[in-house]
Amino acid sequence: MNKKILLSLYFILLFHTAFAIEYRRQFQDYRSLGMGNTGIASANNSATLFYNPAALANITDGWVDIPAIQATYSPEASAIYAEIQKGGFLETTEDQLAFMEEYMGKKIYVQVDAGINAFINLDKKGTTIGGNYMVERILDFDIQNPALPEIAGFERYDQMKLVGFSYPIGLGQFVLGLGAQTLIRKERSYVFTTTQALAGEAFPSIALTDVADGSSDTGTGYDVGFLFRFASPYRVVLAGVWRSGISMDEATDIPPEAALGFTMAHEFGPFKWVMAIDVRDLTQEQGSEGDKSWARRIHGGMEFAMFPTSDLNYLLTVRGGYNQGYKSLGAEFRLGNSLVIGVAQFSEEVGEFAGDKENKRTAAYVSLGF
């Protein structure tokens, strides 16, 4: 084979690659995702600080998760596992070409979040403090360009430290929440083309606990949120949050975000029905330029919990909702704070508008604690 002819295409056949169109939000948990990714007003678990620090007031007890782990993945993620099982990831030209052919047009997504969390309510009225120490690892592959197949890879490693508190003001109807975060972010993106595969080049090596050769940066941000708890037996709550975002020089910024949420809960006997609606990114900072889609930014969902083990915790919960134009489902089994197993099936919009390009994902969560 006269490889020189192929290699001559190396530099000229470049394909458009857009990674910014997915709203890449930090740790979105199985409960919120099952409820259409709502949480601005309704968050009440270990992910609360990722939605609204004022929602810490929804927490009426305390716990420590050691550890909490969530894996989020698209259906084709098993392909990555299968490759790793072979002893490496796309190590031979044959593997690389077969992978590109089999998954043309697909998006393969894997995200793992792991960490420890601690929360404690101080007065049953809404004064709660909490914190998270989490690492988040994302592997995201787009297999694209039938004219010259290529793998567009994106990797990110985030180390997140969050602290926050909520404090009721006046008679307690109004709750103020403050949160702060430090973030260490490493990331890289690359395109591996068929011509590189045919030239015998190695696919970029992937370390599960780090991003090799990526850009790295550190940043800080803060969040200010509120809850307004209506005088109602149905726990009607209106909430809002302003997240400052985090500016980075070397890595991708986290854009600032303003969001509003609404939730209500009905308790009857051993059951509880929670409903929530969020409107995220009110200033439309996320997505690509010109993305003004509200359908992508409106979230709604509900959960039906059964058999309480405390004021906050129920043994079994099922969930459903709407996220960016797609339905979501979820379920949870919980033994107090000692064992939580949760799962959510949802779809992430990875195109440019709600209903454009659906990427189905599953989030599986487990935590041990006390």
Partner: protein
């Protein structure tokens, strides 16, 4: 007690209403999707997604509508893909050193009207609609224009690949070309008869066609000349015009290996060489040139690179086409 019952009833009523309202809102939310791309980035992304999914028809429509250079190029690639070719597959085949490059290209010649149409549309998009044409786009244009001209030559020459001997065969090998000149005698005079290549060939490659008829032109010594010579002026946006531009641009840079492989497909340059063609009719006339300045009313002797072609140049070219 009554107040308590009333309170419970109200509670239950409110619960039903609030749950009903919420379910209704959720139901409405579930049908809340965008109708389509409302901003440029969305159109571009939809174009790429459809292309990646192999949805050629929709990709062509959306990418053309998006109207940027990059989406127009994707539309062109989608036209090519719909016809079963891509720059990469052609390059991959050309990389096979056991294959003759001309045979490789011969296999890519469009064999249906729909494929010819797609090749032409892809070529037109690249050369006419894209504002900033890159090197790889010129290479694609060189290949597309080359394949479409090759297609015309295939018909003209009854071109076939002899896999036993690994070479092309033509109608000339069996002296069966329809355009072959013929020397006859009508009982009084000897006549050199040449009926020409026809107008279709020129119309397809030049976008133009005309002809000069030679009726009993006296060559002396009882010898006449009869028949027709076809010719054309190469129009802008014609296959040979695209071929000329694409060759000039790609060969100004480009890969040496690809340029070597593409030499037979520099059709404009190879054809517009100013070559003439003649027939030896024997003594005392001997050589008769088909295009002759000595007959000023008729097709003059060809000159090179003048954007004019005639049967003389084409027949001259066909004596050594390079494939």
């Amino acid at each position: 007690m009554e107040r308590s019952n009333q309170s419970t009833k109200n509670h239950s009523k409110t619960t039903k209403w609030s749950i009903s309202l919420f379910v209704l809102i959720l139901f409405l939310l579930l049908s809340c999707k965008d109708d389509g791309a409302s901003h440029l980035a969305a159109g571009i992304q939809s174009c790429y997604d459809l292309f990646n999914d192999g949805n050629w028809d929709e990709a062509i429509e959306i990418c053309t509508d998006a109207g940027t250079d990059e989406t127009l190029h994707i539309a062109a690639q989608a036209y090519m893909a719909r016809s079963g070719v891509s720059l990469f597959t052609i390059m991959l085949d050309l990389s096979d050193s056991t294959m003759d490059p001309s045979k490789t290209m011969f296999d890519k010649i469009p064999n249906t009207a729909a494929k010819r149409s797609d090749y032409n549309k892809a070529l037109s998009i690249i050369m006419d609609d894209i504002e900033f044409i890159t090197e790889d786009m010129y290479l694609e244009s060189l290949i597309l224009s080359g394949l479409l001209v090759f297609d015309q030559l295939k018909d003209l020459l009854t071109l076939e690949w002899d896999s036993t001997n690994d070479l092309f065969t033509t109608c000339a090998d069996s002296s069966s070309c329809s355009y072959a000149p013929d020397a006859t005698n009508d009982g009084t005079d000897d006549i050199l008869l040449f009926t020409g290549l026809g107008s279709t060939f020129y119309t397809n490659i030049c976008g133009d066609s005309s002809s000069d008829a030679y009726n009993n032109v006296d060559l002396g010594e009882g010898f006449n000349r009869d028949g027709t010579v076809f010719k054309c002026t190469i129009q802008s946006d014609s296959l040979l015009d695209y071929n000329k531009i694409a060759v000039n641009e790609y060969y100004a840079g480009g890969s040496t290996e690809i340029k070597d492989a593409m030499l037979p497909f520099k059709f404009y340059e190879n054809m517009d060489q100013g070559g003439n063609v003649s027939e030896d009719v024997g003594a005392p006339i001997n050589t008769v040139y088909f295009c002759d300045d000595a007959i000023p009313l008729y097709t003059p002797e060809p000159t090179s690179d003048d954007l004019k072609l005639s049967d003389c140049e084409i027949l001259s070219y066909l004596t050594n086409p390079g494939f």
